[in-house]
């Protein structure tokens, strides 16, 4: 039996206006992602992968179409509702990690939980648990500047998981890492997926894409395969 779809994208279209010129970043994309799936979105630069990820993550709005995540159409939400939705339902991992440089690894993981109103004791316990999960229990007091790129990305993954999101979205998560460190992150994503996390990854990294259970190929704002 197929798992219920956690993501339903229908006729997703995103256009940008540059003066009189209109750029079609996405041109009517439709697909589903079942719960527990591990999807890699691949394609050449400028094909609309990141735009699609932004729409799935409710940090951008489609010109047309809908994105339903866990039964909620995020495309129609106002800013306040979308922010609250992201906080509780979506985990983000970025290519450049974007950890807060003045906070320790543990405090970075705590940040979304603090925003969600989780008590100090609970969020410390959860942050420690997640750092242990990504293999950084011994680095919890370290600042990002004291961590390697791979370690920073693992902290970013722990941060993305802190509020038990329905999906984890990653945009080129191995793009800033060397091959060996990238492989560690790929391994970590695999483990996360096996433990039940729904993953959608945008990547140019063939190895990362191959690790996914499903690949969506994009070209010129359209899904051409997958």
């Amino acid at each position: 039996m197929t798992a219920p779809a956690v993501v339903r994208a229908r006729d997703l279209t995103r256009e940008y206006s540059f003066g009189k010129e209109i750029v079609h970043a996405l041109s009517g994309v439709t697909f589903d992602v079942p719960e527990g799936d591990y999807v890699a979105i691949v394609g050449p630069s400028g094909c609309g992968k990141s735009t699609l990820l932004n729409l799935l993550g409710a940090i951008d709005r489609p010109t047309r179409g809908s994105v339903v995540i866990n039964g909620t159409d995020v495309a129609r939400m106002n800013d306040r509702d979308a922010t609250s939705f992201r906080l509780r339902n979506i985990g983000f991992v970025f290519q450049r990690f974007y950890l807060m440089p003045t906070l320790s690894a543990r405090e970075n993981v705590e940040l979304p939980m603090a925003e969600a109103g989780v008590s100090k004791l609970d969020r410390i316990a959860r942050a420690k648990e997640l750092l242990a999960y990504v293999g950084l229990a011994h680095r919890e007091r370290h600042r990002p500047s004291e961590l390697s790129g791979g370690e920073q990305q693992r902290v970013a993954i722990a941060r993305a998981l802190s509020n038990h999101p329905a999906i984890l979205l990653a945009d080129e998560p191995t793009g800033e890492l060397d091959a060996r460190t990238g492989a560690e992150i790929i391994g970590l994503f695999g483990r996360l997926n096996r433990d039940g996390t729904t993953l959608i990854v945008v990547t140019h990294d063939e190895e990362l894409a191959s690790a996914a259970s499903r690949k969506i190929h994009m070209r010129d704002g359209l899904i051409v395969d997958g």
Binding site: N54, D60, D79, T83, L87, T102, L103, L111, P112, R159
Partner: protein
């Protein structure tokens, strides 16, 4: 969390933050000094005028008390009539003038007050006793040192000097009975006091019944307006001023000082505001990617605004508290310089610290700190997340 993030953000560029706080401190110090100056002189003058409880003053027409050498005549009868009013607790006539102490080939010159020691409101006794007899005199420390005399010494005192006969006029031998501090005396001014009648007689027939000032203390609870009416009915050829109207006259004369204080204070406030706005704007521009990520992670706009406004407020408040200390120190230093101006009562403070003034200055700075953070905060929180992240990635 916004508080922790704001503090962490300020600590990230510690030197820059410290310099900004120092800049705000300088602006705050100037603002505080200007607020202290704009209100201080008036309050200081008021407490000086009220220090001995005299609410009404009669002085020669067109002058402030002791503003000139001018005096009023026929004051003995006027004082007698005034003392018939049961609401007048004390009526104190005072005559001002200069006296000389011939010391062999040299002379020590001093200002002098003739007064009634039992009701006077011009000096405080430091040591010895009041000059209650017609042949007694008290002096302040400056004159005491200049004379090299001791309490109990008899001093030759003249009221004037005739250059034609080369002789001193109005000479008396007075016994030094005490050392005093004059409430309205200028810094380093030599001054003495004796019985009113003594100084009047030393001045010859012209000053026999003269006074430079008559001070009236009205019974507590009695109407000042009625008291003024009563005095006017006695027909004195003099200016009658209440403490309030004297303060109004002082206010008129200090108007330019206050205008200057308001202008310089506003400039200080604006400079502080610009400093904080610039720093916060630069800081936000540096962190635009981080802020977009915080928003992507689900941090609300309100919390982003709160964090950035807190940064501005923290800089302003810490700077303002440092500025409070700096302002008090500079105010005290400047007060020392200004108070030593010749002719000004030593007791007048140009920079009078008043808690209300300090709170006003701190409040204005805190408000400017909030205002300084508002624009960059709203700008940062309103940036489109996806576009900002894409631009950051390209950069």
């Amino acid at each position: 969390m916004p508080i922790a993030l704001a503090w962490a953000s300020l600590r990230r560029h510690g030197t820059r933050t410290m310099l900004a706080m120092l800049g705000v401190a300088v602006a705050a110090a100037m603002l505080l000094d200007m607020v202290m100056m704009s209100t201080g002189m008036r309050e200081s003058f008021r407490s000086l005028l009220l220090s001995r409880g005299f609410q009404l003053r009669l002085s020669p027409k067109g002058t402030l008390p002791f503003d000139t050498e001018a005096s009023m005549g026929n004051t003995r009868e006027l004082v007698r009539k005034l003392r018939t009013n049961p609401n007048f607790v004390a009526v104190s006539p005072v005559l001002g003038g200069s006296i000389h102490f011939p010391r062999g080939d040299s002379v020590v010159t001093s200002s002098a007050l003739g007064l009634e020691p039992r009701v006077q409101g011009d000096y405080e006794l430091v040591s010895g006793r009041d000059p209650l007899a017609p042949n007694e005199i008290v002096v302040n420390d400056e004159l005491y040192r200049a004379l090299g005399a001791r309490i109990g010494d008899t001093l030759a005192v003249a009221n004037g000097y005739d250059p034609q006969t080369r002789e001193y006029t109005g000479v008396r031998r007075l016994v030094l009975t005490g050392r005093v501090r004059f409430l309205y005396g200028a810094t380093r001014q030599r001054a003495a006091a004796m019985e009113l009648r003594t100084l009047q007689q030393m001045g010859g027939s012209e000053r026999d019944d003269a006074s430079s000032l008559v001070m009236i203390r009205v019974r507590e609870g009695a109407s000042i307006d009625s008291a003024m009416e009563f005095i006017k009915e006695q027909g004195p050829r003099a200016n009658l001023v209440s403490t309030e109207s004297a303060l109004d006259q002082v206010d008129m004369r200090l108007r330019y000082f206050r205008q200057l204080a308001v202008i310089l204070g506003s400039v200080s406030l604006f400079v502080g505001f610009l400093l904080v706005t610039t720093l916060i704007t630069v800081s936000v521009n540096e962190r635009i990617g981080e802020i977009a990520v915080m928003r992507a992670l689900g941090v609300s706009r309100a919390h982003v605004v709160q964090q950035i406004v807190l940064e501005g407020m923290t800089i302003s408040l810490i700077g303002a508290f440092a500025g409070l200390l700096l302002g008090l120190a500079t105010g005290r230093y400047l007060n020392g310089i200004l108070s030593s101006f010749p002719g000004l009562p030593e007791a007048i403070d140009f920079f009078l610290f008043q808690p209300k003034a300090a709170w006003t200055a701190l409040g204005l700075l805190a408000l400017s700190g909030i205002a300084a953070g508002v624009y960059p905060a709203f700008r940062a929180s309103s940036l489109p997340i996806a576009t900002t992240l894409r631009e950051e990635a390209i950069a």
